[in-house]
């Protein structure tokens, strides 16, 4: 059937090869246009005024002097963004995060914005806005925020998930619990129990392109938004909702995106830009500075985690528990809960319990960062697994293999697994040449495995065939890393035509039905599936046209290798018709030929990865050097292997930065101290070696080609793999991420194994 998602185990002609990507030339010549690369006639420069306090009451904002400055065309505050959210807490939080209402909740929280004829005037205007703050006590540490006398960030919060229901306000927004069995009984059965506590500091996705948009709203309530985003349809719905506009009357075009990793799944300053444009009745270009990106967008959580694992002498785990405290920033979310869900997902456990806390602090609103919440939980669990292996005098990989989840395992977050790939990635790691490479002095090796969900979601695709037989493939999932190449491969495979006859474009919101955001590793998976079905629909039309051209029954027409073929001996005299030939005649056979698909893609399945890391430490300075790094991950089917490898390597590199150096440093004044790339130092070219990748292809039974999501999973193992390697190299257990030189030196000095 045309929309059957079952894996068909077919032989591929083009899928799996490595042709050049269609947007490649634009990107190497500077022609490709990103968020800040568009301009409109008469555009104004938008700038945002931000709170210099971590927590403060906003008593008064006087914008009168700013409004009078020559060249200023609009000034907005929360008064220009009335609350239309009708009790929807999620939308209200987004509104309040875009523009503070009665309180500034973190250093960098937007309090006002201006639109002026140039940047210089806009900067002057910001200086003329007088904000009357009453500074309040603040809290920025997750454990401090849980203490009884901590300053309360959101007074309406009563902790959810505990009995009896609390009446007092708290910074603990929610407690979540997952697991099964009887952990107390399980620990009693154990011969060996290991218990340890860990901390990870806050990091940012670190995309090189700051948030940028060009907003234009007219007095008739219609508008356009050009924006760098992972999901222009979602942005449209949210912006329209917050501004009281009709969804269909706000056209959002996704620019090329210069990195997102989850940080561009939510609106930040876009509603403000729209509000400015609406007030000024002119286009407003609003581009964030790097400092604003760090201070006022959506970094990931900092965490504090306790893990306890017990096992019998033969290496079989009898019980495992984890308590995870995640800070969500100043607005509640699900990150602690997600951490609790993923903690033990790699393992087959009879008795397991994980408890997650979502805690509020005076920090920016946390957004997803590639497999959100999983890397920190994996760091804590996989480090403890290594400690357990050492106690049991067992090889670390063998301990994982002994306890790995498999088909039929009850996952620690509840459901039972179908066929999954963790066993194969562990075996592949065990057999990998990396494991046999010699190690020298002050060098250590570590491995870790990681788990992530992958998602499907709402997807629309149009496939239109031009009269010259070339194909326009129009999709709605933003291309974050080369998916247009993969989708073109899929269309070429289905239609049976060469790859370079396909042109894949990302449509704006006016030209296609709703598409969910590119997150959850869903871009190639979902749009790929919709492309397959749209192509199959188009083939039905092509066959019908061929039947007309031949004047035979459409039941006698087959589609093979890009051609219509007449079946049955009596039609043997009919020459095959190529797609191009059928297309050329389309005006006379019924008009334009197209295939469409609207679907909710599901069945993306879960995915696993195992990483191996070799590291060298200088015991005098605490400096570390990654010597060798290997990523092994199950991709189901690699449509374009270059870009699958690219996802593995990129995620690993982010994990390396997170593990060794990146952290948000807050002062006692609650202000972010290192809001720039100099002091928030991400890995540079000279920090890293080549990153080896091994793509396993265990087909996903829920996708016609067996595709699994790949983009996120490989950020999950690095923190743990590197911590395990560094602990082995330094001879001391590392429990605090990032393992920057001062922390390494301190750990070596204190020497706990």
């Amino acid at each position: 059937m045309a929309t059957d998602t079952t894996f068909t185990n077919q032989e591929f002609k083009i899928v799996g090869t490595r042709p050049p990507r269609p947007d490649g030339v634009d990107k190497v010549t500077g022609r490709a246009r990103f968020g800040a690369d568009a301009s409109a006639a008469g555009q104004l420069v938008g700038l945002v005024l931000r709170s210099p306090h971590a927590h403060a009451k906003i008593k008064k904002i006087d914008t009168s002097k700013a409004e009078k400055l020559k060249g200023v065309k609009a000034v907005v505050t929360s008064a220009d963004l009335p609350d239309l959210t009708k009790g929807d807490r999620g939308m209200f939080d987004m509104l309040e995060n875009c523009m503070a209402r009665d309180r500034a909740l973190y250093d960098g929280h937007a309090v006002a914005a201006v639109a002026a004829i140039d940047a210089e005037t806009a900067r002057q205007a910001l200086k003329l806005i007088k904000v009357d703050y009453e500074v309040l006590p603040h809290v920025t540490d997750v454990d401090e925020a849980m203490k009884p006398n901590a300053p309360i960030v959101q007074p309406y919060i009563r902790t959810a998930g505990i009995e009896p229901k609390p009446t007092k306000a708290s910074n603990v927004a929610q407690k979540s619990e997952f697991g099964h069995g009887d952990v107390e009984a399980g620990f009693k059965q154990a011969d060996v129990i290991v218990e340890r506590s860990y901390k990870t500091e806050q990091t940012h996705q670190g995309y090189i392109e700051p948030h940028a948009c060009l907003a234009s709203v007219g007095p008739d309530g219609q508008g356009e938004l050009w924006v760098t985003t992972q999901g222009h349809f979602t942005f449209r719905n949210v912006c329209a909702g917050l501004l009281g506009m009709d969804i269909a009357k706000l056209k959002v075009t996704s620019s090329e995106i210069g990195g997102g990793f989850g940080g561009k799944t939510h609106v930040w300053a876009e509603p403000v830009a729209l509000a400015l444009s609406r007030k000024a009745n002119r286009p407003v270009k609003l581009v964030m500075t790097r400092e604003e990106v760090f201070r006022a967008t959506g970094p990931t959580c900092s965490t504090s985690i306790d893990v306890k694992i017990g096992a019998t002498k033969d290496g079989r785990i009898t019980a495992a528990t984890a308590t995870l405290r995640y800070q969500d920033g100043a607005f509640t979310s699900i990150w602690g809960m997600l951490g609790a869900m993923t903690s033990f997902a790699c393992y087959d456990l009879a008795n397991v319990k994980s408890i997650g806390y979502d805690v509020l602090v005076n920090r920016p609103k946390v957004a997803a960062y590639r497999a959100p919440s999983a890397p920190m939980a994996a760091f804590a669990v996989e480090s403890t697994m290594d400690l357990l292996a050492a106690e049991l005098k067992m090889d670390p990989i063998d301990l994982r293999i002994r306890n790995a989840a498999k088909e039929g395992t009850r996952a620690s977050y509840g459901p039972t697994y179908g066929p999954i790939g963790i066993g194969p990635t562990l075996q592949a790691a065990k057999n990998h040449p990396h494991m046999k490479a010699p190690l020298g002095k002050n060098q250590g090796r570590g491995m870790a495995c990681g788990f992530w969900f992958n998602f499907g979601g709402q997807t629309c695709t149009d496939l239109n065939i031009g009269v010259d037989g070339t194909v326009s493939l129009t999709v709605g999932t933003v291309d974050v890393g080369g998916s247009r190449a993969s989708l073109s491969l899929i269309a070429a495979e289905e239609l049976g035509i060469p790859y370079d006859r396909i042109k894949c474009t990302i449509a704006d919101t006016a030209s296609l039905g709703h598409n969910d955001t590119t997150e959850g590793s869903r871009g190639t998976f979902s749009s790929g599936m919709a492309t397959i079905f749209a192509a199959r629909n188009a083939i039905q039309v092509l066959k019908a046209r061929a039947a007309k051209m031949w004047d035979i029954d459409v039941a006698d027409v087959d589609w093979k290798n890009g051609r219509a073929v007449a079946l049955r001996a009596e039609h043997g005299n009919l020459n095959e018709l190529t797609l191009g030939e059928i297309a050329a005649k389309s005006p006379q056979t019924g008009g334009p030929i197209a295939g469409h698909n609207e679907t909710v893609a599901d069945g993306a399945g879960v995915s696993f990865a195992t990483h191996i890391c070799d590291i060298e430490v200088d015991p005098e300075t605490g400096k570390t050097k990654i010597l060798r790094y290997t990523v092994i991950q199950d991709a189901g089917k690699a449509i374009h292997p270059d870009y699958v490898e690219g996802q593995f390597q990129g995620a690993a590199a982010q994990g390396i930065g997170w593990a060794l150096n990146e952290e948000y440093i807050y002062g006692t004044d609650g202000r972010l101290q290192n809001a720039g790339f100099l002091d928030y130092r991400i890995p540079v070219c000279s920090d890293l070696p080549f990153i080896d990748t091994q793509i396993l292809e265990i087909p996903n039974p829920g996708h016609p080609y067996g595709v699994r999501g790949v983009g996120e999973t490989s950020i999950v193992p690095p923190l743990a793999a590197i911590a395990n390697a560094l602990s082995n190299a330094a001879g001391v257990r590392m429990t605090h991420i990032p393992m920057s030189p001062p922390r390494v030196l301190k750990a070596i000095k204190n020497g706990r194994h």
Binding site: R290, E645, S686
Partner: protein, 163 residues
């Protein structure tokens, strides 16, 4: 009384004139006055290299150069890398080796890599990595970028040898 500064310069081989404010950076001028949006602002403080251009052959962060400083000099941006529809070997190798994912850092890397190969036509892996250490990439982990630069260097050496 205007404080604008009149600048006469050469950009990618073409004579160009503009008036800019004393505060404007070369990056601002290229992007906002000349429409050359290939150079990107990733940080504005010279830490990310996305704005890399060459001025009189010298690799610089254009966010740290004033628009006025370009007067009488030769500026080359990523838009000047290909000649008459023919891509530079660095450009073709970047595509061939999938050395870009989102592509925002690519113009900066191409300009920096060209500056490297202009002075060192046969760099080893370490030399490439250190020469490119001023360009941040968040998507690729640099693996395929280093391979692409190596491959381009080889191709340029071979085509020079064959002349």
């Amino acid at each position: 009384m205007s404080e604008g500064i009149h600048v006469a310069t050469t950009v990618n081989g073409d004579a160009v004139e503009y008036v800019c404010s004393p505060r404007e950076t070369l990056l601002d001028v290229l992007r906002n006055r000349l429409g050359l949006t290939g150079a990107k602002e990733g940080c504005g403080t010279g830490d990310c290299g996305a704005c890399s251009v060459t001025v009189d052959g010298r690799l610089v962060c254009s966010c740290l150069v004033l628009g006025a400083e370009a007067d009488g000099r030769e500026v080359t941006t990523v838009e000047g890398l290909s000649t008459g529809g023919k891509l530079h070997p660095l450009q073709t190798k970047f595509i061939e080796h999938a050395a870009l994912q989102c592509g925002i850092c690519t113009p900066g890397f191409l300009v920096s890599a060209k500056a490297l190969l202009d002075r060192n036509p046969d760099p080893n892996e370490e030399e490439i990595r250190y020469a490119l250490a001023g360009n941040l990439c968040r998507c690729t982990g640099y693996d395929k970028i280093v391979r692409a630069v190596s491959a381009a260097a080889k191709e340029i050496r071979n085509s020079n040898a064959n002349r």
